[in-house]
Symmetry: C2
Subunit: 282 residues, 2 copies
Amino acid sequence: MELEQLKQLAVIAQTGTLQAAADQLHLSQSALSRSLRRLEDDLGRPLFDRTRNSMQINDAGRLALEHAQLILAEEQRLRDDFDALSKRTRTVRVASVAPAPTWRLSTIILEQHPTTIIEPDVIDERTVESRLLNGTCDFAVLPRQPRLPTLRSLPLLTEELYANVPIGHVLYDRDELTFAELDGHSFLVYGGIGFWREVHERMLPFAQFVTQPDRTIFLQQVRTSDLLTFTTNAPENTSGHESRKAIPITNPEAHVTFWLCMRNDAPEHVQALFTLIQQASV
Amino acid sequence: MELEQLKQLAVIAQTGTLQAAADQLHLSQSALSRSLRRLEDDLGRPLFDRTRNSMQINDAGRLALEHAQLILAEEQRLRDDFDALSKRTRTVRVASVAPAPTWRLSTIILEQHPTTIIEPDVIDERTVESRLLNGTCDFAVLPRQPRLPTLRSLPLLTEELYANVPIGHVLYDRDELTFAELDGHSFLVYGGIGFWREVHERMLPFAQFVTQPDRTIFLQQVRTSDLLTFTTNAPENTSGHESRKAIPITNPEAHVTFWLCMRNDAPEHVQALFTLIQQASV
DNA sequence: AGTAATTACGAGGTACGTAACAATC
DNA sequence: GATTGTTACGTACCTCGTAATTACT
């Protein structure tokens, strides 16, 4: 007996004729006829009452059909479970305090495992930490090295903040700047920058911020606006700033090393990715 | 995915090695290795963690195994149900008031369907009738034609009773006898004669009966005893009476026609047998 | 005539066993 | 060296599709 034959039995019973069932199963009528015959031989009795050109399911057929449906349903559950398992192992949940580290992660992971699904969340540091500890994310990105013995960590990248100054602005000719010099000006900022927003607010208490949550619209606005903006050394930040000058900010708060963190008891596929990133970051 | 592969998974998981499983499955190790590989490919992930020369079932394997066992158990239930169905259709339960009609039935049925199992019960008329009506037998044999419209019936055979007289007995020279002439003598009788016992007791109120329930011992005793016995025209009654003379009994009570009865709603295979017997009895 | 199921036949694919190989105990 | 799992190769079997056949509507 084969699962394929049970599927065929179900379709034949449902359609009522071999021809219709064969069409639905992408099989010739004769092949289906023989396959059904083999099943009947295996079970020791006909499952259909036959006239010369019609078939009618009989008691034995109905009995077999009941069992077949239970078996096929169980097979489907098996496949569903495995699909869920595959999805789980293909997905990496990343909780990060800033977007650039997740971009870097994507670049490294997708190069080796193009089918991986990366689910980034840019959120505040406390939430990142708690999600890592309670297992609701696979990787955490923090602006410092965690020291818990239940965690492994590595320095993922160091991001440097630049003031992005439009032509004609009073600060355009400077070669470097400090937060103190920037304070009091107006800035156009992208909304999803997480950690950096706190830096801005702490270091520039008197500045004005216009926040654009949509990244595409933000980049368009940068081209036409004469407001100051920020950019960093992350390669994903280079586009759309052609008519502007990126001026380094010298304060130590403008240079941040982001650490990739993982629980020691992370699933195997997560550990493998961690090792991959470790090698790529050397 | 095939049921065979799920069986193999179960055996591999149980034995722990491919070689042991292959032996148990009457399959070469390499074939089993490939078959398992195909299952893993089908499900999209390994079911065992492999070193170069050992295998250990992993989480995915255990998950698959759970489902596999449910599926295989359901397949077994299907087969069990079909075995029970086969046994039921191969078995014919006969309730008869006398043994000879069941012998006749066996002869006719086994000639065409040698695998049929015939379960005869020789019991009293009222019980035969009730078993037929409540469905606890397929065929009933009665000493009269039933007239219920829910039943079909046919005359199966007419049995004629003979006095079986040993050489030297006072009645040995007679050519025919009546119950009245036989009354008062001593008889050796077989126990399992059902209906005929009532005839004896009613027609021979003053006779002595020595009853032997075992047919083989009865036939041996007949050879050596000088008691009167009975026999009939049933072919199965001819053996073992060589040193005796069978003398017809003229009373109408000694000539009985047995009717085969079946419910109109009997299962198909029982109806087919009824038709067979009808043709054979012409 | 048209449809439905079975049977005949040739072809392609697939799973098997044997055997060679690699690695571990 | 014995055992275990994987890979290579040739073969045999098995199921498929096409087509012919038979019967029913």
